[in-house]
């Protein structure tokens, strides 16, 4: 079985091969394989402590793996120090040099070490980079004189100015308020398209991950749980952890009772649930298998309590949010599910305590790996 995260070895700009990084008592990154294609916006997503930042620092060169290698293209950079790597980082809290002006911050990477560029070229590239992040005219300010959002832009300009092949972003939007964050998400995505380089973006915010990425890499306890396009991650989470970490989900466990035309009927304490019997990363289902089934709340519709194929439940309460209503219902086995209903005018005469049925398209019931 190919390791999760591995892709084409030919077109990848970054290849992380079987990398392990241990800290006393814990493996922060544990045997990870990951390939990042040229021009991709890749997001490392996971709860805090899952190893996503360590993985980013391994790529940047701030950490050296205990095992495994890191390749840039076909070059093994495992032991290359960060200042010799052709990647730049946008840091959490920006890490702008407080003693340098905005222009000098942006120029820092242009005047480095062995690379001596003519002053005119440095000035031009500083100007272009600031233009790119829409901070033209701010060159003479000091970082402390800028707002959080502006500092964020300077950090980005500084990192892109030397023209890296890959930009690493370590939770760069974490310090911004929600409105600003959403605006920056769009800008960052545009910037990435404009530059045509790979972005590796670390976040614990699933909305951010889904909204911006070409590829989302979900991590847990130092390992990659799943790698895929945002829709794939959302619609077909491989594990219960992903299903619950990315978005809201309802999970029920049961045994396969029958298989008919590729559709398995799973007997659960709350009733019979239909699920696709085809392979979903794992082996095809057969009779008697014990499976976990996940259904997203927005895929569920209400029906008559005794409608055919409906799962019976009782309404507990409702949370009215304007565009949608979040319903909490209790199934026969005692578990609670969440149902999102669009407020599209369809009368939904539900009162707490009402007995209703839940129905969904069978392809929306996702089998999870156990």
């Amino acid at each position: 079985m190919p390791p999760v995260g591995a892709g084409s070895l030919v077109t990848a700009v970054v290849s992380v091969r079987s990398v392990t990084k241990r800290y006393p008592g814990v493996a922060a990154v544990d045997g990870v394989w990951l390939d990042i294609e040229d021009g991709q916006f890749v997001t490392l997503l996971g709860p805090s402590g899952c190893g996503k930042t360590t993985l980013l620092r391994l790529i940047a060169g701030f950490e050296t793996p205990d095992e495994g290698q890191v390749y840039f293209g076909t070059n093994d950079v495992t032991h290359v120090p960060p200042h010799e790597r052709d990647v730049h980082t946008v840091f959490q809290q920006y890490a702008l040099f407080p003693h340098l002006s905005v222009a000098d911050n942006v120029a820092f990477g242009l005047r480095r070490g062995r690379v001596r560029r003519p002053a005119g070229e440095v000035a031009r590239r500083v100007r272009e980079s600031l233009e790119l992040v829409r901070l033209t005219g701010y060159g003479d300010r000091m970082p402390a004189q800028l707002s959080g959002g502006q500092q964020q832009r300077v950090a980005i300009a500084r990192a892109v100015a030397p023209g890296p092949r890959i930009l690493l972003l370590d939770e760069p939007l974490g310090a911004l308020d929600r409105k600003l964050r959403e605006a920056m998400q769009i800008e960052l995505k545009q910037l990435q398209r404009q530059l045509g380089i790979s972005f590796v973006f670390v976040t614990h915010d699933q909305d951010e991950a889904l909204a911006m990425s070409d590829v989302v890499v979900v991590m847990k306890e130092g390992k990659i749980e799943q790698k895929g396009e945002p829709s794939e991650i959302y619609e077909h989470p491989r594990t219960r952890f992903i299903a619950e970490f990315v978005g809201v989900t309802n999970v029920i466990v049961g045994d396969v009772e029958s298989i008919d035309a590729g559709l398995a009927s799973v007997r659960t304490p709350a009733g019979i649930v239909p699920v696709s019997a085809a392979a979903n990363g794992g082996p095809a289902l057969s009779m008697g298998d014990r499976v976990s089934v996940a259904v997203r709340p927005e895929k569920i519709r209400f029906a008559e309590a005794r409608a055919a194929g409906a799962i019976a439940c009782r309404v507990e309460d409702a949370r009215y949010l304007g565009d949608v209503t979040h319903w909490r219902v209790r199934l026969l086995d005692g578990s609670t599910w969440t149902v999102f209903a669009q407020n599209d005018g369809t009368p939904e005469p539900l009162e707490p305590g009402a007995e209703v049925g839940l129905v969904w398209e069978s392809n929306h019931a996702v089998r999870l790996e156990s």
Binding site: A60, G61, F62, P81, P82, H83, E84, V87, H88, T89, F91, Q92, Q93, A95, L96, F97, P98, H99, F108, G109, R112, G113, V115, R158, A159, P162
Partner: protein, 613 residues
């Protein structure tokens, strides 16, 4: 509502706060203010304001010894600051930025120099230099200052480092800067405020250190605090206030500038002014050595107020040499320095009994009397004294007695004998020398015993008497007893004839008496230590002092009598005919020289410690 009706915890009560702060700062600043104000006082008396004057500033500027010590102080401070910052900063970085085994231990090591009492470090260092054979002088002061300054640099720089985001260095590396460049372009500039405050702190500590420096200083290492300490032996003069005021001003400017720098408000101008002040002080500090580079040097280790400035200048001019004058305040301190074996003094001026000790320790070189053309000027009575019968090691410099000074206007009755001191009417108005031997001498003489008694019963009886006297004593003082008399702080004081004779010239109500039971008499003589690097020049110097005119000037400055017959014609009558300075022979009949008591001294020490505890 209850939450808002309660007084908010930070409700400012600025009035009370300001009042408290004002009280504390008044306490801190009133003495400083007094000092500054009296530096402009026309009178020498600190307690009396007698008009505005800048004379003390002029006087300080012309006082070669003071200026030289200020130069030394600044030079020591500059070099030890630079070295400490240079050596301490990498350590701060190692401790602040790296995790390694034994870090806690190393951390602990840096705390040691801060917490070990100064007296211990000073004592240990001088013993160490002695064993290691390192010359005491300028560099011994510098390396010791650095040894206790490094820690302050480590703490200060590390605190600054802790405030820096470690990601800044990563960001620099990430942008392609190699480690050294990242350090130079990011870490170092950001550390500058920390380095500046560390430097200021260390500079201050070095500039003000007295205890450790007094142990490890040698020829060329007399710093301003040592000079001041010697000068205050005869009472603080407004000259010292003037110097303190100037130093205060200079450093105040530096501190303010560094503050501006730290707060980021500094422009080019601020930096330029700061640099100018530092450079000016630096140039001043090396001005002396540069001017005198290449000249032969004579180091004189002598009591304070013994050698007039103009004689030094005259000698320097006559032989085109440079004279270092270092001062001590007791024979024992001088002996201790010589005993380290790592001094480079050419002339020392010990008292009688100390010459025996120095000889016993083989610390003195022989004097070639054939080279002394003015030897005949000496009164033969002062040649061939018991401590050096053939004058092979010593040539008398001055002599005096330690008797009693008292205020005729304040004392209920005239003082004529030691026994007069045991008078309850003198309670809290009596001063005694802070010296075991002199206190016991008073008691022993009162009992009609020799002040060199080694008889245990005699000593025990004397101890009883001193114990009896102690409740009457206002202060034990070997330095400013004469000033105390002048100020009326004490009415009667045991003291050396010279200092009391000097204040008696200022206030005719002061009288010096040699008690009728007799007292200590001493002769201070010039000697050439065996380790003297420049014995040749030392002979020239001794001969120079033996000139009548020189001896007269010396007597005027120190207030002690001169053994020099030829000087009498040059002395003003108020000195020549002053019985406090030149007492009649019969007054000296019962006076004795002190002799070294060997192991009996331990008995005195024990009783003395008991009396003082």
């Amino acid at each position: 509502m209850s939450a808002t009706s309660r007084p908010a915890p930070q409700a400012p009560r600025p009035f009370g706060a300001w009042l408290g702060i004002a009280a504390v700062y008044a306490y801190l600043y009133v003495p400083i203010l007094v000092l500054v104000v009296f530096s402009f006082n026309a009178s020498r008396q600190m307690a009396v304001w007698s008009g505005f004057s800048l004379d003390w500033y002029a006087k300080a500027w012309q006082d070669e010894a003071v200026i030289q010590s200020l130069r030394t102080s600044l030079f020591v401070a500059f070099i030890s600051t630079a070295l400490s910052v240079l050596v301490g900063t990498p350590a701060a970085i190692a401790l602040g930025r790296h995790r390694f085994r034994g870090r806690g231990f190393v951390d602990g090591i840096f705390y040691l120099p801060v917490v070990i009492p100064e007296i211990v470090l000073g004592f240990a260092s001088v013993v160490f230099f002695g064993l290691a054979g390192w010359k005491l002088g300028f560099w011994s002061v510098v390396v010791t200052h650095v040894a206790f300054s490094i820690s302050y640099v480590v703490f200060t720089v590390r605190a600054r480092l802790a405030m820096l985001d470690p990601r800044l260095e990563e960001a620099a590396a990430d942008l392609g800067a190699p480690p050294l460049e990242a350090f130079a372009r990011v870490t170092l500039p950001l550390l500058v405020p920390g380095l500046v405050s560390a430097a200021l702190l260390v500079f201050t500590i070095s500039l003000d250190d007295y205890v450790v420096t007094s142990f490890v200083a040698g020829s060329g290492g007399t710093t301003l605090p040592l000079q001041i300490y010697s000068m205050v032996r005869t009472g603080v003069t407004p000259e010292i206030n003037a110097i303190s005021t100037i130093l205060l001003l200079a450093t105040f400017v530096l501190v303010l500038l560094s503050q501006r720098y730290e707060s980021g408000a500094a422009g080019r101008g601020t930096s330029a002014v700061a640099a100018a002040v530092v450079i000016a002080l630096g140039v001043f500090s090396i001005g002396g050595p540069v001017r005198d580079a290449g000249k032969r040097e004579l180091s004189v280790y002598i009591w304070s107020q013994y050698l007039p400035e103009e004689l030094v200048a005259e000698f320097e001019a006559r032989y085109d040499v440079r004279v270092n004058v270092e001062l001590y305040d007791s024979n024992e301190a001088m002996l201790a320095k010589l005993q380290t074996g790592v001094t480079s003094y050419d002339i020392v001026v010990p008292s009688d009994y100390m010459i025996e000790v120095l000889r016993a320790n083989d610390l003195l070189g022989e004097i070639d009397t054939r080279r002394l053309t003015n030897l005949d000027n000496l009164n033969p009575r002062f040649l061939g004294l018991p401590f050096d019968p053939e004058n092979r090691y010593s040539i008398p410099y001055g002599w005096g007695t330690s008797g009693i000074g008292y205020r005729k206007d304040l004392c209920p009755k005239p003082i004529r004998s030691w026994a007069d001191l045991w008078d309850p009417a003198l309670r809290d108005r009596l001063g005694m020398l802070n010296d075991a031997r002199e206190n016991f001498a008073a008691a022993l003489k009162r009992e009609g015993k020799s002040l060199n008694s080694t008889d245990e019963a005699d000593i025990a009886r004397a101890a009883e008497l001193v114990e009896e006297l102690k409740p009457l004593v206002r202060t034990f003082e070997s330095d400013t007893f004469a000033e105390n008399l002048l100020a009326g702080e004490v009415w009667v004081t045991q003291g050396y004839s010279g200092q009391i004779a000097r204040v008696a010239l200022e206030n005719p109500d002061i009288e010096y008496v040699i008690p009728k039971e007799g007292c200590t008499m001493f002769v201070d003589s010039m000697c050439i230590p065996k380790s003297a690097p420049n014995a040749d020049l030392a002979h020239l110097f001794i001969d120079f002092v033996l000139e009548g005119r020189s001896a007269a000037r010396i007597t005027e400055v120190m207030g002690f009598a001169t053994p020099n017959r030829a000087s009498l014609e040059f002395l003003p009558p108020e000195y020549r005919d002053n019985p406090a300075i030149f007492p009649p022979d019969r007054a000296l009949d019962d006076c004795e020289f002190m002799t070294d008591l060997g192991s009996a001294m331990e008995i005195y020490d024990r009783f003395w410690t008991r009396i003082k505890s």
